[in-house]
Each structure stands twice: as structure tokens, then as C-alpha cells.
Symmetry: C2
Subunit: 328 residues, 2 copies
């Protein structure tokens, strides 16, 4: 295992320190590195808090800032943060309008965010994301996994929160965006967890894992490597089967797992876009890059969200975070 | 070799098509895919044109847009674009104020941009970038290689061009920024060129290539993997030896080669920042991410630019490109 780190024990905190130093104008670190928060809060706005295991950067801390999250709690690699972290984050960023937790559907995260919600003195609601169509339950999840669609929920609900919508309305919007969003991933290689020191799973030189999870969880099937068009075909087919037959407008996110270069992500984008448009799903908005990663895994995921006018306006609204910024 | 592609022959054009479709509001494709240009040109502004072999995405096409380039010419993987491409790009984006070529110092690129300059009917000047301190000459270059410092030149000169500065002044500014910029890279793995189908070089499980080029060219030495602090120490030492002893302000770019996750890049950022500040080089501006990549190589480079007031203002100026955007 070759990784840029000083030790397995310090890779997460040192990375966090570097992250906050590099983006000091936008974000600040909570006590004991329990969370990353906006450098400046907006009074009277519902505060959005997310978090989860580290190893998916820029998710979630990279999405802290105007138009998205107010705070993010980083756990150890692929390990939920603790309820104490979530509680500290909620208390630090709640300016009186309440807190919305955005939680990916993994048992540890769900349990810990639930405990934090019970402990919190203020009003807290939760949106659970479970956009991964690959499998119905998985290694760390009862029900579908929350993957890259989470960033779509964070962006759209984050924009609505800037408009001073209330907690109940934001939670409902989050449910609606999650319900309109489907994802599936494919791995060309395994990731390597620093503390394990070896690949999470074995995979042959011509094999891929279709439907892989963002922690290297098994997918639908191990299959032979195939052309970009064939892979995109299987992935778009799985997503479209869930999104329904109606024509409409969609957001297409092609998300790299960190080990795959942009050149290849744009090939997949082109392939997926053609397939969606052949199904009368017009790609009205797009995002291509490494946003919800899996340590050093080579591979990518496709996320498709059915858009309405409101969701397009909120997607287009200004955002200013370390990892996503436009309009300001 | 597992890559998301339909064929070795089509990976570059299909990726370009996907890129332009994903960023249709910002960029457009020239005839025969000879170049990527801004969707909208600004009359009376000197046009900045760059280009080079593909495989370094988002460089250069990802930097086409307001505040940076007017056009970029993509070659085949790790192969210079042709003079015809550069000439077509220059003619397409020259609105009467002349064209500045920004060229990384590789023999093929230098020769072809020179030929294009001679063929161009309008006024053309050239800035050559050669920021890589690793070796004095290399596989494809006489003299030092141009690497990630090129994006610093493109950003700062691009901002100055928006202020309607003239061609001679912009060329001089480009020389000044390049002269204030030093880089060095390190590879943990080789890259794999699609047409070759196997890694460009062999490297052991505990070895790294210190001073690697962005095409996998040999660096200063093959050494054992070491801690992030030790690697950053060797790299910052090599850079600082060239930047001189004077205290001052710097821009620090930690650039991933595409196969290394953000978590590790931020560890390297923190380490490099501490080392620079111990040398009285205050890190006033920062950029961390995959910007000048080497196909799927795991590794990173450090780039340090000595900043003055003018350069800081131009770095901070609004930029709106597929890969870099702030302030608008």
C-alpha cells in the first residue's frame, strides 16, 4: 500500500487540517475536529448538517458553504461519526430555525444521527438518502445504500434553505429529491482502506464489479470488462427501470470514485447522455467529476435525477463551497 | 488495462464530445474537433490559446472560459496537436488584438506552435512554461519540462487579458509568472497509455519515482516510499532551492495526477504548507485537486509561485471555466 500519509492513525486528522487550511475563508474546524462548519453562519436559516465515514472526499466537508451544508461530521475511514460529533455540529450551527440532518442510509450513520437527534435540545429533522439501485440491502445497510445522489439532495435542499424555507418544508423537499434520484456504480479496481493495508476485495485484470457500493460492498454481479457503451447501457437501464417511462428532464451526474481520470468520465458521460436521450430523458443539467469517492478505487457511478422547474432553479442557485461553486 | 472507453481510437474524440456536451454553455468544439473554444468571444481582447497532448485533463480544455483561455487544442494522448489545429484555433478566436500561445516546453509542442505562429496571418506571441525543477532535460524536452505551473500562467495572464492589456504586456507577464513558479512531481504508480495497453514504466510495490514527468518520464531518482512529511520535505526543498531565500508570499498548488484521492492530497498540502512557512514563505493562496493529470497515474506534484500584489489580484479575479471557477 502506497499512500501519501504519515501514519494510518493520522491520515484523517491531517487531511482535515490541510483541508481547512486550504479553504480557510469558507470553512472552519470544530473543537476536537468533531465537524467542519461554515466560516460564517446565517441567522434564521435552517442549518443543514451531514456527515459519514471519511474516504468519500469531497463528500461531505467539501460541500460545506453557502448554498449547501452548514456543517459536516467526518468519521474515521468508512466508519460513522459519533452522535457526539453530530450533536456538537448541530449545536454549533443552529441559529434558531432548527437543523436538518442529511444521512446516507447505512446502519451506523442512521443509528448515530438518530441518537444525536434525540439528544439535541433544538428542533431536528432527518432526510435519509437511498439512491443506489444496485442492491436492495448491503453489507452496511438495511434497504438501499445512499451514494452520490446525496450531493444532489444537499445542493437542492441547501439552496432552498438559503431562501429561508422552514424545517418541515426542507425535509419534504429532501424526500422528494431523493425519491426522484437513482444511482448505480461500477468498480474497475478495489479500494484500499489505510488501516487494512490491502485491497478490500480481489478482482481480476479483466473483471469489474457492477453495482459496487462506495465502501467496496458487493454489487449485482461480477462481470467481464466491456465497452463504455455497454457498461453505460447496463447502468442507465437499471436506473431508467426505476425512474419510469415518462419523458422529462434530468440531471446527469457522472461521479468518479477517485482512481479514474476525467478523460474516461467524459466518455461515460457521453455514452450515458445518448442513452438517456434515446429514452426521452433530456439531460438538462450535468455534473462530471470526483465528488463521492471511494478512497482510491477506479470506477464511477451514474446518478440521474428527474427534474422539475423548482429543482432546476434550486440546482442553478449560487453555491460557494470548496468542491462545488457557481454563481458567486 | 481496464479503461472506460469504446476503443483506443475513439477515447479522445468521444471524451471531447462528452466534455463539450457537459459544458455547452461555456465551450464549443471547433471543426473536426481541432480545438475547444469559448462559447462567446470578447472582441478587442488578446486571445489566449494553449494545447498539448491529451491525458492531462482538465488541462487545457477545462481552462477555456472567461478569465483563462480562449481556445485549447487537444492532441492525441501524450502527443502534440498539429500546427493546423493551432492555426485554426488562433484564427477562430482572434478578434483583432492578437493571439498569445501558452506552450509547455516539450519539443513537439514547441515546434508545432512555432509553425502555427509562422503561418498565422495575425499577430502572435508565445509564452513557454518550464516550471519543473526535477531534471534539466527529459525524454521529450530540451530544457525543463512545463507542468502544473502552466495553469498558474494561464490563470494570471488570462485575468490580465480580460483587462484588455496588450499582447506584448501579456507575454511579459507570462514570462514573469513562469519565472516565479517552480514544480516537482512524484509518482506512486505508472500511468497506462491506452494505445500501449500496459504501464509506461515498472515500479515496485514500495518504490516511487521522485521528479516524475507528467508523461511518466523519469525523474531524479527512484526511491523507497516514505512518509508524506518526508516526501514533501524533499519536494519543497527542491523547489525552495530555486525560489531563493527571501521571505514572501506564495501560491501553493497541490496537484493530483488523477489516481490519488483528495484525502491524500490534503495531507500533502498540510505538510508542504508547514515546510514553506518554516522557510518564511507564507501560503497566501492555495489550490488542491486534479488539474494537470497524467492519465491514471497515482501521485501528485507541488507547484509554488512567488506572488506579488499584482499577481494576487489577478489570481483572485473572476474565472468561469469547466474546471476552475470563482467570483462569478
Amino acid at each position: 500500500m502506497k499512500k501519501f500519509m504519515n501514519s494510518v492513525e493520522t491520515i484523517v486528522p491531517e487531511s482535515l487540517d490541510g483541508f481547512v487550511a486550504a479553504h480557510a475563508g469558507l470553512v472552519a474546524l470544530g473543537e476536537n475536529r468533531a465537524f467542519v462548519r461554515r466560516a460564517r453562519l446565517t441567522t434564521g436559516k435552517v442549518a443543514l448538517v451531514s456527515g459519514g465515514g471519511s474516504g468519500h472526499e469531497p463528500l461531505h466537508a467539501g460541500f460545506v458553504g453557502h448554498g449547501m451544508l452548514d456543517a459536516a461530521c467526518p468519521g474515521q475511514v468508512f466508519t460513522s461519526p459519533t452522535p457526539d460529533q453530530m450533536l456538537a455540529a448541530a449545536q454549533a450551527v443552529d441559529t434558531g430555525a432548527g437543523v436538518l440532518f442529511i444521512v446516507k442510509n447505512y446502519e451506523g450513520d442512521v443509528m448515530n444521527f438518530d441518537m444525536a437527534r434525540e439528544m439535541a435540545p433544538g428542533e431536528v429533522a432527518t432526510v435519509l438518502t437511498n439512491d443506489d439501485v444496485a442492491v436492495d440491502s448491503s453489507t452496511y445497510s438495511t434497504g438501499r445504500r445512499g451514494v452520490a445522489g446525496t450531493l444532489v439532495v444537499e445542493k437542492i435542499v441547501g439552496a432552498a434553505a438559503e431562501e429561508r424555507r422552514g424545517l418541515t418544508a426542507l425535509a419534504a423537499l429532501g424526500e422528494r429529491v431523493n425519491g426522484a434520484t437513482r444511482s448505480i456504480g461500477v468498480a474497475l479496481t478495489s479500494c484500499t482502506v489505510p488501516a487494512a493495508g490491502r485491497p478490500t476485495f480481489d478482482i481480476g485484470p479483466d473483471e469489474i464489479e457492477m453495482g459496487v457500493g462506495i465502501h467496496g460492498e458487493p454489487g449485482r454481479r461480477r462481470r467481464a470488462m466491456a465497452s463504455a457503451d455497454a457498461l453505460a447501457g447496463e447502468m442507465v437501464g437499471a436506473i431508467a427501470a426505476e425512474l419510469g417511462e415518462d419523458p422529462g428532464e434530468v440531471l446527469l451526474v457522472v461521479n468518479g470514485f477517485a482512481g479514474t481520470p476525467l478523460m474516461e468520465l467524459y466518455v461515460m458521460y457521453g455514452a450515458a447522455r445518448r442513452l438517456l436521450e434515446a429514452r426521452q430523458l433530456r439531460v438538462a443539467r450535468s455534473l462530471v467529476g470526483n465528488y463521492v469517492t471511494s478512497l482510491d478505487m477506479a470506477g464511477c457511478s451514474l446518478t440521474v435525477t428527474r427534474l422539475d422547474r423548482e429543482m432546476i432553479a434550486l440546482w442553478d442557485a449560487p453555491v460557494l463551497t470548496p468542491a462545488l461553486r457557481w454563481g458567486m
